[in-house]
Assembly symmetry: C2
Homo-oligomer: 284 residues x 2
């Protein structure tokens, strides 16, 4: 098998949200940093699965040995953008024992009676773990802004609270990878219709999807503002063009690989006398 | 590719713990109900991954649509018996979004200040989910019996409490699959030595493994008693010979497949007018 076509430029750089960023400047159909085609992308995804799994196991092993390192992937997107596919096809390559997926839906009455970060804090990954947030604290500055459930000053409080929260996570040893999967409004229409045309997918369709779709432009504005306020050095945002599912998957895979590589992970050294222990086992 | 060699007899039957069962009667090297060899077993495992994943997705989908069905796999075993391998190689075929793995280690001070089922209850799977317990409430009648941390009357209370608890789970819609992975004492020695001979596995070795190994016969007696007291009609035990990892994996896979098949799962029907919704999306 030929070597897989790799990224020419790192997604961590080309997809990173910097000052002055605007969603309007990104083509959801594009494949930044990658010159390969769909077949190349699929081959790359598969070729890197084992590496991703090994890095995750090392992270888990270090956690057992006392390291505080952990990883948190935050996924935000409009409906049908492919969050679920990222979790099953990218994160799914890791060992399920070391991964904790948290899907944040409409808050319960109890959750609503607390500050918005209360339910989030309970789901942050423990040392050695990979946490995945399918939606997150950002709902509280996205859907809440779009529908006016929070006023301007409350939104400002939340942006600042999120930045404080993520700074604290980073100080605790958490590498935070924030990803917005960016599909076009036309692509969403195609995917919603495809769901409706497939009886095995009807359960994924909700009439509220269509209601939220009507606020598309407001959501884009809310995302742009959230990026401006919360794409920080400790926890930058990445906007991943997602009309091509295969591209979104390799881009997120590469972001995870880069994040894990950056942790300088290794198998923990034995804290006991290996030869002595081996002799004891052999005699047992 | 030739069709995979399937089980000649159902593991749910041949591995089920019935009246008068004794661990001494099971050969950990055997492959009950399966006539194929290692290569056949590996091929079967892979061949059935997609079916397992589809059933799990249907379970998840039904949960979204209001069904109370859920699945709980309880794994108990001596160290190195392969619990982790079952989770990563069998459960790992399912979508990580629909699976919740809970590893029960030595209880915290807070957990100890509650009844033994307190921490267990918090980890039972929600509707539509597959829960996996890596160790479980059974530690409280196994290690506690072996080391005399609970006296005879307290152990009796716990067996009864466990049966009440599992009956309640079943009444709530939970299918409970209880598995003890059964390795021989010699096989454990080989595996402990293999861990010590591989620096990438040192983190998996604990000096307490050797201490517990010294109580092997007491553990076997504690397991036999636990089986006698808690292998019920609603939640029977299955003892899976586990010296051959490939066999243990296909046996547990088949137990999960049978459990899920028994739930008569299907894709939920749409609760909305599909054609009308499609027209609205097309116009949006």
């Amino acid at each position: 098998m030929a070597a897989a076509v790799e990224f020419a430029k790192s997604p961590a750089e080309v997809l990173r949200v910097g000052p002055g960023f605007s969603l309007a400047s990104v083509d959801p159909q594009s494949t930044p940093g990658y010159t390969g085609n769909k077949a190349d992308g699929k081959a790359l995804l598969e070729a890197q699965d084992a590496r991703l799994a090994e890095l995750q196991e090392k992270l888990f092993a270090e956690g057992r040995a006392g390291s505080e390192k952990r990883l948190l992937l935050i996924l935000q997107a409009m409906d049908t953008a492919g969050k679920g596919g990222i979790v099953s096809h990218v994160v799914g390559a890791m060992d399920v024992q070391g991964v904790q997926v948290s899907a944040f839906k409409a808050p319960t009455d109890e959750e609503k009676s607390h500050d918005f970060l209360w339910r989030i804090e309970k789901q942050v990954p423990a040392a050695g773990m990979v946490g995945v947030f399918d939606r997150s604290q950002y709902e509280d500055v996205l859907i809440h802004r779009v529908h006016g459930w929070a006023d301007a000053s409350e939104l400002e409080r939340r942006y600042a609270a999120i930045n404080d929260f993520e700074t604290r996570l980073a100080e605790q040893g958490t590498t935070v990878v924030k990803v917005m999967l960016n599909i076009s409004k036309d692509e969403q229409k195609k995917r919603l219709i495809a769901r409706l045309d497939d009886p095995t997918k009807h359960w994924k369709y909700s009439r509220t999807d269509l209601a939220e779709r009507a606020f598309w432009d407001d959501y884009m504005a809310a995302y742009d503002l959230a990026f401006e306020k919360t794409s920080t050095d400790v926890a930058p945002w990445h906007v991943v063009p997602a009309n091509k599912k295969w591209y979104a998957r390799i881009a997120v895979q590469q972001l995870l690989l880069d994040a894990l590589e950056g942790l300088d992970l290794d198998w923990p050294k034995a804290t006991f006398d290996v030869a002595a222990e081996r002799a004891l086992v052999a005699d047992s």
